[in-house]
């Protein structure tokens, strides 16, 4: 179902990524971890061509046909997100996303879902801070129909009081599902505090009172301001005839009024002062300790280095934090790092052993970070992480939906639909020296921390176990697990 992706990243407590060590390709150039030629060959095979054009109304179109298969993915990405919301009026972008499924000019309420699902396709949408995206993957024979449906809701939306109330309820249920989980509330407040004073400093879901205050007029104004062809990118990827697609796009989209250009994004400053936060959570069965660094956004030149650094620290059981901190000191540990257009975090969550205190984990993190800053990473571990990231990105390009997503993101973030290929090349060029520089710049020793403590018996029992010899806590854990 539709979801707010940022919340997943911020609060998820997934499980440890299992190891996946890599090393230099034998055919790579000296200094390269992977052969750039090899990456390029795979990328060309998966995305052989992208044809781009702009309609008169400003809609940017990118067509990525490929041979084989019988399905196609259609994605419309609007350059609007939670960062475009006025302070105190959070949740509107996400609200609009829900409204986009409530009927357009010709398609009735709920009709978009049925149009796509009736032919066996999948459809979904997501709102984050920067973008609102709608995607549909369908059998190729339904391409014209899906383009019709996307144009229909771009042209007009049925925003009435009944639909507003209904979706207000649905969003409320969506939020309740998250509130039902331990750690979410505390982690959310902490994350928003880190970004306070910036356009990223509020929840894209909106608060209950903000949602209650949304009016039909306000929703209409927001839609007129941001849901215009000139503010959107349309991508079609998969098995289809480009000529037929061009004709269908012209037929369905060309008559939609251009609308106004989106407003410029205001400048803002991030307060990087370190924060140390302690929160209590009655739903939490066990304490957790998170360490966080502010990094860079996805469009920054050093974004590739940061992605590799993240993997180097926590991406496998051979990663530094895993090996030196997680294995000896914790029950579990994992990365919840994020990168939006103009902002990013490296974020690691540790679930300490019963007999291990937060101070010990904090000290271990400082020690490892200092070592990385002083000595830099080794070539083998650098290449392992580069290989993992590259493999993940190539896997994303296996599906038509993944290709469409990569193109849309590149088109909106960097005005280049094929930037994913350049980004892969950038990744392949990341070496130990680059990582050392990134570590020195970003992995400051005054990092942010969040400790979430349970209430009840565990709150008092843990300090006792930390005080007692480790063997007692270890035996207790072993006997119970």
């Amino acid at each position: 179902m539709r979801s707010v992706e940022w919340l997943r990243g911020l609060v998820a407590l997934g499980f440890l990524v299992l190891p996946f060590s890599t090393a230099a390709s034998e055919s790579a150039e000296p200094g390269e971890c992977i052969s750039a030629d090899s990456i390029e060959a795979t990328t060309e095979r998966l995305v052989p061509t992208i044809e781009s054009f702009v309609l008169e109304n400003g809609l940017r179109v990118h067509l990525a046909p490929r041979r084989g298969g019988a399905t196609v993915s259609v994605r419309v990405a609007y350059d609007v997100g939670a960062t475009d919301e006025v302070p105190g009026r959070g949740g509107l972008a996400h609200f609009l996303e829900h409204m986009m499924f409530k009927g357009g000019d010709a398609v009735p309420d709920g009709g978009h879902f049925r149009l796509v699902r009736d032919i066996g396709g999948t459809t979904n949408a997501t709102t984050d801070y920067d973008l609102t995206q709608y995607w549909n993957t369908v059998p190729t024979r339904a391409l014209d129909r899906v383009l019709f449906a996307e144009a229909d809701r771009m042209r007009r939306l049925r925003i009435d009081e009944t639909n507003l109330a209904n979706q207000r309820d649905a969003i409320g249920e969506e939020g309740l599902g998250l509130e039902n989980l331990p750690y979410v509330d505390a982690a959310t407040r902490f994350g928003l505090d880190l970004w306070a004073g910036t356009p990223y400093g509020h929840s894209p879901l909106g608060t209950e009172s903000e949602l209650a205050a949304v009016t039909r007029e306000e929703a209409e104004r927001f839609r007129e301001r941001f849901y215009a062809p000139a503010n959107a990118v349309l991508v079609v990827a998969g098995a289809f005839d480009p000529g037929a697609a061009r004709r269908a796009i012209a037929s369905h989209f060309a008559t939609i009024p251009a609308g106004s250009p989106r407003p410029a994004r205001p400048a803002w400053e991030l307060d990087r002062a370190p924060r140390e936060s302690i929160a209590s959570d009655p739903l939490a069965p066990f304490p957790i300790f998170a360490v966080v660094w502010q990094t860079v956004g996805a469009t920054a030149p050093s974004a590739a280095s940061v992605a590799v650094l993240d993997d180097l620290l926590m991406g496998s059981s051979d990663a530094r934090f895993q090996r030196e901190i997680a294995a000896p000191l914790t029950l579990d540990a994992y990365s919840v790092s994020l990168a939006f257009r103009d902002i990013g975090l490296l974020n690691y969550v540790f679930v300490p052993h019963t007999y291990v205190g937060v101070a010990e984990i904090r000290a271990a993190v400082r020690r490892e970070v200092q070592a990385l800053r002083d000595e830099g990473p080794g070539r083998a571990e650098t290449c392992r992480s580069v290989q993992r990231i590259v493999n993940d990105r190539l896997t994303d390009l296996e599906t038509a939906e993944g290709v469409a997503a990569a193109i849309a993101r590149g088109a909106l973030f960097r005005q280049d639909p094929r930037v994913f290929a350049a980004e892969l090349s950038e990744l392949a060029r990341v070496d130990a020296a680059t990582l050392e520089r990134a570590a020195r710049e970003l992995l400051v020793l005054d990092f942010h921390t969040l400790e979430i403590r349970p209430t009840g018996l565990m709150r008092w029992l843990k300090p006792v176990l930390e005080f007692l010899p480790d063997s007692i806590g270890a035996s207790l854990e072993a006997s119970l697990l």
Partner: protein, 518 residues
């Protein structure tokens, strides 16, 4: 345990954190005051429009064209002759970035939910059963490869992916992977702990609890329960467990890549040789045969028709629903019909339940239906406690409608289109296709001595032949009567509110959660 790609963490994972200290005094049980409720009458359900017509929408080409192009959309699966004890073949996946080997080792009935199986998967996924795990992972690194090990159906699946140009290096690592040794004790302790935590977290998930309760009530499947304390697994036990499975007959292996290589027969022989050597080695090395046991089959739990079974989860702010029928079948056409009916009802966002109970009545956020391969047809959803009665009545009304009101011709046609379309998408997506393989490789039963490679084209043909008479027949015969109802939530609160909202309806409370059902 599947190697997870970074970035696929989920909010639901928050619920998996260790419930430590079997004291597990998890959170204060915040017992809410039961909501006083008036008796609830069912809101008439809305089925119309049965099929969507949108003015101005472009027409669709037929889902099943007359020419052979339709069949060509099915990826080629080239079978190999690998000997008596293993079946296999090459699957061509045009848009695969990587080659992959999927090896399905047979498990005993009841093994699939077992702790030892999960532990073995965890160890294998990290290469911890190699003679030198660090060197093994380093070698795998040179091959650009990645591992996963997971349990699906009645098999333990070992899967390795790697770039096509590193095949020889990958095959060497694959051979090494099938030569399990004694695991380092510290590593065993670590994955034991992690696996135990995962199992505890899973067992606390309301979705899991509802599924287990449902199966137990119907006496189907073998309940996968987490023991209060697992018997320690020694390094020898783990090694022998894996050796035993490698040594069994009836393994299945599928090699997939973006194009069928010229040397496919040689590749097949090479794979067969690796597996043959592994099996011979396993039979020689296993210190004892692992006992083969049949899990205890327990009879269904008797309840009056229409009973609401409440599985207690104190303080839960939401109620998890699982409502449905036991629908085991070995007939392919019936299975496809049940899957189609589940799609009509659920269909993710396209089904009757979503349209009526969520969009029109606002009773739930997520609601779906499914025909599981384990043989149950169920509706799943969750909601606030105050909406439980209305939502339950709505679900039951839709189930009745499905069995009593004939499906229309246009709905049948739509379902056929939908099933064919879904299948086309799966065939086009490498990970989904590999998952389909795991699903489709036929479980060994009393009627089949050996599992078989899936016939992807046959499934396509079966979907294309789906017709309205079969759908009506299966709906009226298999989905009639009172469904089994399982609700997981704060039983104290629910019992009172449901008693008031649905007077006269039998309610049965399991106060100790799943423990009450064992």
């Amino acid at each position: 345990m599947t190697m997870d790609r970074k970035g696929s963490t989920h909010v639901e994972g928050a619920a998996r954190v260790a419930f430590f200290l079997g004291l597990v005094l998890i959170a204060a049980s915040c017992r809410h005051a039961a909501l006083a409720q008036d008796p609830v009458s069912p809101t008439p359900i809305e089925l119309a429009p049965r099929c969507l017509e949108v003015e101005g929408a472009p027409p669709l080409e037929p889902a099943v064209p007359d020419d052979a192009s339709f069949a060509r959309t099915v990826p080629r699966l080239v079978p190999w002759s690998l000997g008596e004890s293993v079946r296999g073949g090459f699957l061509e996946i045009p848009h695969a970035a990587f080659d992959a080997i999927q090896l399905g080792l047979p498990l005993d009935p009841g093994d699939e939910g077992g702790f030892r199986t999960k532990l073995a998967a965890a160890a294998l996924a990290e290469g911890l059963l190699s003679s030198d795990p660090v060197a093994f992972r380093g070698g795998l690194a040179l091959a650009g490869g990645r591992l996963s090990a997971l349990v699906h159906g009645d098999r333990l699946w070992l899967e390795m992916q790697f770039p096509p140009d590193r095949r020889e290096q990958a095959l060497a690592r694959f051979s090494e992977w099938l030569d399990p040794r004694l695991i380092d004790r510290e590593a065993l302790a670590r994955i034991h702990r992690k696996t135990r935590l995962l199992a505890l977290a899973e067992s606390s998930s309301p979705t899991f609890v509802a599924g287990q309760a449902f199966d137990r009530l119907l006496g189907v499947g073998t309940a996968s329960v987490v023991a209060a304390k697992e018997r320690p697994v020694r390094p020898e036990d783990l090694r022998d467990f894996v050796l035993d499975r490698i040594g069994r007959e009836d393994s299945i292996v599928v090699y997939s890549g973006h194009a069928v290589p010229d040397d496919t027969p040689d590749l097949g022989r090479r794979i067969g040789s690796i597996l043959g050597e592994a099996r011979t080695r396993a039979l020689r090395l296993a210190s004892r045969s692992a006992p083969r046991s049949e899990p205890e089959r327990r009879p269904p739990i008797d309840s009056a028709p229409g009973t609401i079974h409440l599985v207690d989860r104190p303080g839960a702010p939401q109620v998890e629903f699982l409502v449905g029928f036991s629908t085991p079948t070995r007939d392919g056409a019936t299975r496809v019909a049940l899957e189609s009916l589940a799609s009509l009802l659920g269909g993710n966002v396209g089904g009757r339940l979503f349209r009526d109970l969520r969009e029109r009545q606002g009773l739930a956020y997520i609601i779906d239906a499914a025909q599981a391969s384990t043989g149950r047809f169920v509706v799943t959803t969750r909601s606030r406690p105050e909406r439980v009665a209305a939502l339950l009545l709505g679900i039951e009304a839709h189930l009745r409608a499905l069995s009593e009101i004939p499906i229309s011709d246009c709905e049948a046609e739509m379902l056929r289109d939908r099933m064919l379309g879904e299948y086309a998408i799966v065939l086009d997506e490498p990970d989904a296709l590999r998952a389909l393989l795991r699903e489709e490789i036929a479980p060994r039963t009393a009627h089949t001595a050996h599992a078989a490679l899936p016939d992807l084209a046959a499934r396509l043909a079966r979907l294309a032949m789906l017709d309205v008479e079969k759908l009506r027949e299966v709906a009226s015969r298999r989905l009639r009567g009172a469904p089994t109802v399982v609700l997981v939530g704060d039983a104290d609160r629910l019992e009172r509110s449901l008693g008031e909202a649905l007077p006269g309806r039998p309610i049965r409370v399991f106060e100790d959660g799943l423990d009450s059902l064992r």
